[in-house]
Every structure is written in structure tokens, then in C-alpha cells.
Subunit: 189 residues, 2 copies
DNA sequence: TAATTATTAGTACCAGGTACTAATAATAGG
DNA sequence: CCTATTATTAGTACCTGGTACTAATAATTA
């Protein structure tokens, strides 16, 4: 037949690539892409130990599932527990396994920064606020499972420039301190 | 019957909570949890416009699917393109929709911080490295789709304390600058 | 040519649903 | 008190995306 003369191995390599770059492909999709029958795809997956569609989705979903409150999503990192716009606010961030170094279960600094930064920005009473600069100190390591309570306070302002001080604690112990300069922007800047 | 006298509305609220905190629950699971039949759960989902199990997983998986390189995962934010441990390194972060403010498509500062911070930490030749403090400036807004190239350099060291300077650019324009003080820790600190 | 490997077809089965019909409780209104 | 409406449950047929298995037919290799 006038089929592309690809070997089994070549096809299986392609299969791996397809699935790795897009786990949402079903066997039927793959069969069409590779020009073989669905049964062949199944045999290939078996040999390559690639789980079925639904299992794949489950695992992608799981890996990310409980990190919904993490940096990539939502407008705020952590959970806002109290806010008085223009004045002060607080948020809580629980350290999950995705946020820590595998080696020692210490949270990566940028998560604490992210909590503080998004809290600082949330405080500003403007359509859009951007961080201009920041000075931050990581006072004490934060561990997996810790509940980090961030407290922010607007400590000064000049024109559209606000100074926000954030102190984050884990059970009364200060773990992070930062001073953020946030700019309030007009609606259509 | 000696059932908990919960109203339909109360049950539906509970249902929402259950599903929000754990999208992996099937109708059967939920039926058992709430002490009603599977059919009732289905009707509830219909009324609440909650999609079915497989659709939910698909969406969790999708929402996060392409943000694998974002903050919550991997040991590094951005893609490492060059590194010479103890000296310098570079990484690239492409700004996705998850990283920007919906209103103006400008990247939230903490993502740039995260890229720089994880790059700084990666540079340190130690089992574990932690950021002590940092001074950062966001020079120019970064937009959705921008490819942020971060360049880090160890600019000094004293004992286990390293000073790392990071400059991030989008097409030759400096968008972020930061000086990080990173501490190298012993294996079993 | 015989043996082996690769590919395809088909069957029965499963999970987790949708969509629909129908029967039975429970609650409220007059 | 009886009726009308709402709530809940049961059951059926069907769908997707598979697993597990059997069997037949190419294509290759020894």
C-alpha cells in the first residue's frame, strides 16, 4: 500500500511525543494522526506503558489539582481574610508540597514574595496597580504545611505611589518582611 | 426516616463545597457523602450547572496543563537555557494568561521575581540554597506573550553568602532588576 | 517453506456519565 | 381534607473511551 513506510519503533516514538505534548489525545485521535488502527495504538500504549486517556487526565489534574491557590491562578496568592482597601489587609497561605524544595521541605522564597506582593497590590484602591520595586527579607525558613499569615499596611503615599509594608508570620514568628512600592494606574493607562 | 433533616438548598451548598475542594468525587461518591441517591446528585449538578466528573477533570487538567512551568511546579520558574554553576546563568519565561492581570494583560510582579529568584538559587553550588533578602525593581511592564530572558550573575560571596544580580529583559529592554542574597546551606542543615 | 511478528477486526465488559420517562414521597395552598 | 406542586428515586436506552481477550490476516525473517 502507499502508506508512509514507518517502522513500529518510529511510530511509537511519535506516539510518545504526541501524548507528551498533548495528553488530551484519545486513541482514536492518535490512530488518525499516525495512520494506523485504534487497536494498534492500544498495543503501542501497552508496550510503552502509557496509561489510557482518562488516567492521563487524572494525573495531570492531580499534579496541579490542589495548587489552584498557588501562583499560577487567581488574582491573589493566598486567601484573603481581611481587607480595608487603602489601609491594611491580611491573607493566609498554606504551604503545599508544590511550594517547597524537595530536599528539605522549605518553601521557595518566591511564594512568600508572591503572597506579600499580591496582598500589597490588592490593597491599592485603583483599577490597576503595579509593583515598582520591593525590598524583602526572608527571616526564617517556612516549612511544608505551615500557615503563613501575611499582614500588609499602607505606610505612606505620594501621588499615585504607595508604600506598603508586609510582615508575614507563622505562629507569631516573623518569617518574611517586605516593603513594596506600588503604583496606582489609571483605568486605561 | 431518621435522616438528617437537611433542605435541598443546604445539600446543594454542601455539594458545591465538596466538588470545589475535591473535583475527583463522582456522583456515586457524592451520593454517599450526602445520603441521597445518585439521581438526586445529578439533578443537583444540573441545577447548579456543575459539569460531570470527566469534564471537571478535563478543565482542571487544562487550566493547569500549560502552566506546568509556572510557579507551582518544577524546581525552577522559567526554562533554564544556560548555566555555569557558581557564576552565571540564564532562563526564559514566557508570559501566559495565568500570569497577567485580566484588566490590562500586564504580568504580576511576583512572576518576574520568581523567575529571578529561582535562577539565583539555581546558581548556587550547594545542596540547598535559600534566599535571605532581595531588592528588586520592576522597570517596565511585561505583557502577555512576552518572552522574558533573565540573566543572573554571582557578583560576590562571603562564606556561605552569595550576592546574585539578575537582570531580565524583553527584547533588549530591561524589565526587571534585582539583587538577591542567597545562603548556601549544608546538606542536613 | 515454516515460523515469527505486526496489524487489524470483533466481541464482551466496565466506569461514569446524559437524557429521558415514570412512579412515589413530601410539602404547601386553598 | 384534598389537591397541586415540588422533591426524590428508579429504571431504561444510549454515549465515550477505554480494558481484556480471541482470531484472522499481512509482512518479515530464518
Amino acid at each position: 500500500m502507499a502508506k508512509n513506510k514507518t517502522t513500529k519503533v518510529e511510530r511509537q516514538e511519535q506516539l510518545s511525543i504526541y501524548i507528551n505534548t498533548n495528553p488530551f489525545l484519545t486513541d482514536e485521535d492518535l490512530a488518525e494522526l499516525l495512520g494506523v488502527s485504534v487497536q494498534t495504538i492500544r498495543l503501542d500504549r501497552l508496550e510503552l506503558r502509557i496509561p489510557e486517556y482518562r488516567e492521563r487526565l487524572k494525573h495531570v489534574a492531580m499534579g496541579e489539582g490542589d495548587s489552584v491557590k498557588s501562583l499560577s491562578h487567581g488574582e491573589l496568592v493566598g486567601e484573603l481574610v481581611d481587607i480595608s482597601v487603602g489601609k491594611a489587609g491580611a491573607s493566609i497561605l498554606t504551604i503545599t508540597k508544590e511550594m517547597v524544595f524537595k530536599k528539605n521541605h522549605v518553601a521557595r522564597g518566591h511564594h512568600l514574595f508572591a503572597q506579600a506582593n499580591s496582598l500589597a497590590v490588592a490593597l491599592i484602591d485603583a483599577a490597576v496597580a503595579l509593583t515598582g520595586n520591593a525590598r524583602v527579607s526572608f527571616r526564617h525558613p517556612v516549612k511544608l504545611g505551615d500557615r503563613v499569615v501575611g499582614n500588609a499596611e499602607v505606610s505612606g503615599s505620594q501621588d499615585n505611589k504607595y508604600k506598603v509594608t508586609v510582615v508575614s508570620k507563622v505562629k507569631e514568628q516573623v518569617v518574611f518582611e517586605g516593603i513594596f512600592t506600588v503604583f496606582a494606574l489609571a483605568e486605561e493607562a
